[in-house]
């Protein structure tokens, strides 16, 4: 019997939701456990197997000096490294601190700032080491996670769309919340993958899958302004779960300075 490929799951600054998506694959979980060797997944098992690992899934953003070193060690031990979720691919909601004075933030939460070790920024995994693939979303879509594992086990590229949310709405026949109701919606600049979730619930997309390929954020911002969104709130719309993703960060910058 050939040895099973090894899988490791790592966590940085995050809510744990993305790695728990693996456990949310209820119908497939036991089959996955038969197909791959779960070598490091502290959320699920106290059994630990030494690296190197065939596949590393990395959740969370880099926010401490120690984590800068840790992700480099993980990269060295990993044949294929996948960043999963908005924290790992776009800095996460905690990247909102990149645009604030970190001392003010510590003071808002902690009585003893001198006890707190933190960098002034929250950054994506690819800002520190080469990443072989990214799964977007806050949280990731478990169907995409399953597709990723399936593709890796079969030596092919995962089928993950890079077009915008608008395509999902059109395919699902969902009425456009921006055109029909005048609700400012980030769908045109946001990558698909959630399954048309927010517009399907009569709600505007809030961008949790991060920027799509070549997003026209400037046009998006103009449309939001035309719909009556204050400049300050245009900035805040881009400064959320993918605050440090390039396109969203720079569009946020433009409106924060305005």
């Amino acid at each position: 019997m050939a040895t099973k490929p090894t899988l490791a799951v790592w966590k940085f600054a995050s809510c744990d939701g993305c790695q728990l998506s693996l456990l949310d694959l209820e119908d497939h979980l036991l089959a996955i456990a038969d197909t791959v060797q779960i070598a490091y997944f502290l959320e699920a098992t106290r059994a630990v197997i030494e690296g190197p690992y065939d596949v590393s899934l990395v959740e969370g953003s880099i926010t401490t000096a120690n984590d800068v070193d840790r992700i480099k060690r993980i990269r060295k031990q990993s044949r294929f490294l996948v960043a999963i979720g908005a924290c790992a691919t776009g800095g996460g909601i905690q990247a909102v601190k990149n645009f604030r004075k970190v001392d003010d933030l510590i003071g808002a939460v902690y009585a003893r700032p001198d006890f707190v070790d933190t960098l002034s920024t929250s950054t994506a995994i690819k800002d520190h080491v080469p990443v072989d693939f990214e799964l977007r979303g806050c949280p990731i879509d478990r169907g995409q996670l399953f597709e990723l594992l399936n593709a890796l086990l079969n030596n092919r590229k995962p089928l993950v769309p890079t077009f915008s949310q608008c395509v999902e709405c059109k395919r699902a026949g969902t009425v456009c919340v921006m055109v029909a109701h005048g609700t400012p919606c980030l769908g045109p600049v946001t990558q698909a993958g959630c399954g048309n979730l927010c517009p399907g619930h009569d709600r505007a997309c809030y961008g949790c899958f991060g920027p799509t390929e070549t997003p026209n954020t400037a046009a998006m911002a103009r449309r939001m302004a035309a719909l009556g969104v204050a400049t300050r709130d245009v900035a805040l719309a881009f400064r959320s779960f993918n605050a440090n993703a390039d396109a969203f960060r720079s569009e946020g910058d433009r409106h924060e300075r305005a």
Binding site: S14, T45, V109
Partner: protein, 447 residues
């Protein structure tokens, strides 16, 4: 030498090299933690439950943002109990804006989706994270191999909990359909009715689960805990109530911070909850506290299952929290079933809200205990200040106290067994360490 070992060495008064047991990160909890224990002359002298989850500064991030951002942003504190944050933040904002959810479908949907979170979180923790300790196994996959059918039952229940979250909330993790005032879109009657049959099966599965857990061996350990939980006059408190304890303190949410606060200690990035006065500082939130304070409001079937499992109306052994999670899972299934059967579509999916200045409080029973929110808003409805007290932060001192007691009684265990017993002790609290900072390195230093 790690920072922790350096710390251990520097506080050791013993010139001979101390016996140090070092263990890598704590498995099967959500987040990252560590434990340091110092033993001298067979006495536990010091215990530090250290959380090294990187801080994420949620209270700071919220400043200046509109009130309507708070539910979705605070949900990201925890991927396993987002409903606790979505609901607590919404409730607090509703108070600040002077609206209340009327009795009826909106109220029922909020409670029903919360039942979904209890089911998925309790089943995940009990079956996949905690049960392996009682069976001496590394994880649920080992259980699946040794006892076919058991883990499958757990996964079936967890999937149903997630389905409730999906039908009402849009997705299982970080649901998108909840907001201040209610929901973006109300589920149809057909969507909710489709949950009835699987919920009926889940009631049976929950009863089987309690029977299974009752067959486990529970380590002997009890303490006279100060239990703190929400209490509601009619139902087992989940999404609303007064904050009460078993020492006679019965508070409105607005009074909470007069009696309870948080300490910031050097060894943890999570603040530690404290109760001021004679019965503090440590107190316990979560299943044991809820069960002790609201036993009477459980259903007849829950009472029967508890009696058959040999449970008393108050359980003071934290290892038996596993059984209480079983009872609460049964309750959540029964309650969701009752609400699903009675569901009718509301006239509108949400109560309208208008921005204004104000202060609001919210508190709900996350699966691992009370989760408290307080916000101040300016006259545009923007957040001036925020305070969030997560359940695991509140439980930190009691976890340390339990660890001290458990280690003291188990000094004869070898290092590996003692380490495992400590992990199990921490897992009694289902600690969501992401929440409290918003895995355990165990260092036992003994002579």
């Amino acid at each position: 030498m790690s920072a922790l070992e350096t710390a251990a060495a520097s506080i050791s008064p013993n010139p001979s090299p101390p016996r140090i047991i070092k263990v890598d990160a704590l498995a099967r909890v959500e987040g990252e933690g560590a434990l340091y224990v110092r033993v001298r002359d067979r006495q536990v002298q010091d215990i530090k439950f250290r959380i090294y989850e990187p801080p994420r500064f949620f209270e700071g991030l919220l400043k200046g943002r509109p009130f309507s951002d708070a539910p979705d942003i605070t949900a990201r504190i925890c991927g396993i109990c987002p409903i606790a944050y979505l609901t607590g933040a919404s409730q607090a904002m509703e108070m600040a804006l002077g609206v209340t959810l009327p009795p009826g479908p909106l109220h029922d949907l909020r409670r029903m989706v919360y039942c979904g979170e209890w089911i998925q979180s309790h089943v995940l923790h009990a079956y996949m994270l905690h049960a392996p300790d009682f069976l001496g196994m590394a994880d649920a996959i080992e259980i699946a191999r040794a006892h076919p059918g058991v883990v499958e039952r757990g996964l079936r229940m967890k999937q149903l909990g997630n389905r409730l979250l999906e039908v009402i909330g849009g997705r299982a993790c970080h649901p998108v359909n909840l907001k201040v005032g209610g929901f973006y879109r109300a589920p149809t009657v057909a969507e909710i009715r489709a949950l009835i049959a699987p919920l009926e099966r889940a009631v049976e599965d929950a009863l089987e689960t309690i029977r299974l857990f009752a067959s486990f061996d529970f380590p002997n350990y009890e303490d006279d805990y100060t239990f703190v939980a929400l209490k509601h006059p009619e139902v087992y408190a989940i999404e609303e109530g007064r904050i009460v304890n078993n020492r006679g303190l019965d508070l409105e949410l607005a009074e909470f911070e007069r009696h309870y606060g948080e300490d910031h200690v050097a060894h943890s990035t999570a603040l530690q909850g404290v109760l001021y006065g004679d019965h503090g500082p440590a107190y316990l939130v979560g299943p044991l506290a809820r069960y002790a304070l609201s036993y009477d409001q459980l259903t007849p079937l829950c009472h029967q299952a508890a009696r058959e499992a040999g449970m008393a109306p108050v359980e003071r052994n934290p290892f038996r929290s596993l059984l209480v999670r079983g009872i609460e899972t049964l309750y959540a299934c029964e309650e969701a079933l009752r609400l699903a059967k009675g569901y009718e579509e509301p006239d509108r999916p949400a109560v309208p809200v208008t921005p204004r200045a104000g202060r609001g409080f919210g508190c709900t029973e996350a699966p691992r205990g009370i989760c408290y929110h307080r916000y101040d808003l300016d006259d545009e409805g923007r957040i001036l200040s925020a305070r969030i007290m997560s359940p695991t932060a509140q439980n930190q001192k009691i976890i340390e106290a339990d660890l001290k007691g458990v280690v003291q009684r188990n000094l004869d265990l070898d290092d590996e067994a003692l380490k495992w017993r400590c992990e199990q002790t921490i897992r009694n609290y289902d600690p969501c360490i992401s929440c409290s900072t918003h895995v355990l390195t165990l260092t036992v230093d003994r002579d």
